[in-house]
């Protein structure tokens, strides 16, 4: 049923439909509306879940870890510093192969403290062993949570999934969303049946010490599972399409006007809406430009990216994150995808924009296309204010 709804409310509604047994969260802007709604749903008796109000994100993640290990579907949500504070547990959840689903309301990282959107938080945790899926709009944000539980709880996977949605832009944005009906949700997402759990009827020890004889294989297993998950995601998205009447291709990347393009921007998340509009405008003027949207960042869909861009001469990667002192995060993956290959772009330039909530406008996108020349650039910031970069005269 279509509803004009705030992103966070829509997420709370879809989590309710997924019927987790344990929810735990600690408040951080811009995640708050999601968990406030869930608390209200529990208070109203509309959602039969234990909502555990914790004293920190570290404990929020630990509570859902404990709940998941006891064989119950769980949910948490966080953002920015909160995600960083739970980092230790985030890695732990993946290592323990627990199918936790978390929403990351993407927000900038301190210092300086800044509550506005970019993607530095979740991208910094890319090596944690979680699947990371980035939504462009709230329809996707809603749908991706359903897919996240299906993938996480798939017996071939048993890994946590982080659904990333841009803070404020999506979490606080009002959009029309086709909300999945409960019967269809039940059909698509059956009750969680754990492979292993804490149960006195069948005692099991979990979280054991692994010495050099055993540790490496556990990491290898996660690596192989994540690689295989690219295929599972495609498979699950097709089933999702059948049940809900959507049209997702594979949830790895979206190709927008890339087939005959001379220049393509690669980006992730809500900024892709703006880029699509810029592409449309430039196409109307006869310019062959396009967008490749990365949807799944972990595992990274190298083969799909290669196929999509192997005949495109120039590619601009627009990161809403920065790896300080190195190439930007998505740019690194793009370069890796084409290294040593017969085909591929002559130029892969890397741009950084939108940090700390700086607007990426249509003009910003036009500027990226303009700066995408034969001369490759790396981590070139866009939309900087030159007046702020002059030597500080107040000293």
């Amino acid at each position: 049923m279509k509803e004009f709804i705030e992103g966070s409310h829509a997420i709370a509604q879809i989590i309710k439909a997924c019927q987790p047994g344990v929810i735990s969260a600690y408040p951080i802007t811009p995640q708050t509306h999601i968990v406030e709604d869930l608390a209200q749903l529990v208070a109203n008796g509309e959602l039969k879940a234990q909502f555990v109000n914790v004293e920190s994100e570290h404990s929020a993640a630990s509570v859902v870890l404990g709940g998941s290990a006891t064989g119950v579907r769980v949910y948490t949500a966080t953002s920015s510093q909160g995600l960083f504070y739970m980092q230790e547990v985030v890695f732990n959840i993946a290592g323990m192969r627990l199918p936790v689903v978390m929403t990351c309301a993407n927000r900038a990282i301190s210092a300086p403290i800044n509550i506005w959107n970019d993607q530095q938080d979740s991208i910094s945790l890319r090596d944690a062993g979680w699947v990371q899926i980035y939504a462009e709009d709230n329809q996707e944000a809603v749908d991706f949570h359903l897919i996240a539980y299906r993938l996480a709880e798939d017996k071939r996977v048993m890994l946590p999934v982080m659904v990333c949605m841009d803070g404020f832009i999506l979490t606080h944005g009002m959009e029309t969303v086709d909300m999945p009906e409960q019967e269809k949700v039940n059909k698509f997402l059956p009750n969680y049946k754990p492979l292993y759990k804490l149960d006195p009827a069948e005692p099991t020890s979990m979280g054991l010490l692994a010495d050099p004889d055993y540790y490496m294989e556990t990491r290898f297993a996660i690596q192989e599972t994540l690689k295989a998950s690219l295929g599972y995601l495609s498979e699950i998205s097709q089933e999702f399409n059948t049940v809900f009447g959507r049209n997702y291709k594979d949830l790895l990347v979206e190709e927008y006007q890339t087939k005959d393009a001379d220049k393509v921007i690669v980006a992730m998340g809500s900024v892709c809406g703006t880029i699509k509009e810029a592409v449309d405008q430039q196409r109307a003027k006869g310019k062959k430009v396009g967008l490749l949207r990365v949807i799944t960042f972990r595992p990274f869909p190298y083969a799909r990216v290669y196929e999509a861009l192997k005949d495109v001469p120039r590619v601009a990667v627009l990161d809403k994150a920065v790896s300080l002192g190195a190439y930007a995060p998505i740019a690194v993956e793009m370069k890796a995808a084409f290294y040593g290959k017969k085909k591929g772009p002559k130029v892969i330039s890397s741009f950084v924009g939108g940090l700390g909530g700086r607007d990426i406008t249509l003009e910003s996108i036009d500027e990226v296309f303009r700066r995408l020349t034969a001369k490759e650039v790396n981590s070139d910031f866009i939309d900087l204010k030159p007046e702020l970069l002059k030597e500080d005269t107040r000293r």
Partner: protein
């Protein structure tokens, strides 16, 4: 796929920690035992067994020779004796 690392108790035999024993081992004299079970209760390894008087024994596969059982025995019916051999068979 390998992992997660979970173990069910039945699958775990336990390391034969008796091989690291200190130079002494408990010798249950079976003379004055009153079956108070203190040796069994206090053993850090949980490797003392027995129910009846003068029938308690330590499983040397696991006993590390700490001597706490001998210390707690109210009847001094457990003596710590010097090991004669080394290794797994001790």
């Amino acid at each position: 796929m390998f992992g997660p690392l979970t173990v069910k108790p039945a699958e775990s035999k336990g390391d034969k920690t008796g091989s690291w024993r200190t130079q002494v081992r408990p010798h249950y004299l079976h003379k004055d035992c009153i079956a108070c079970r203190m040796c069994l209760i206090i053993c850090p390894e949980g490797c003392v067994h027995g129910k009846e008087k003068n029938a308690f024994w330590a499983d040397y596969n696991f006993c590390k020779g700490c001597g706490v059982c001998a210390d707690i025995c109210p009847k001094k019916d457990i003596a710590m004796v010097v090991e004669e051999s080394k290794g797994e068979d001790k």
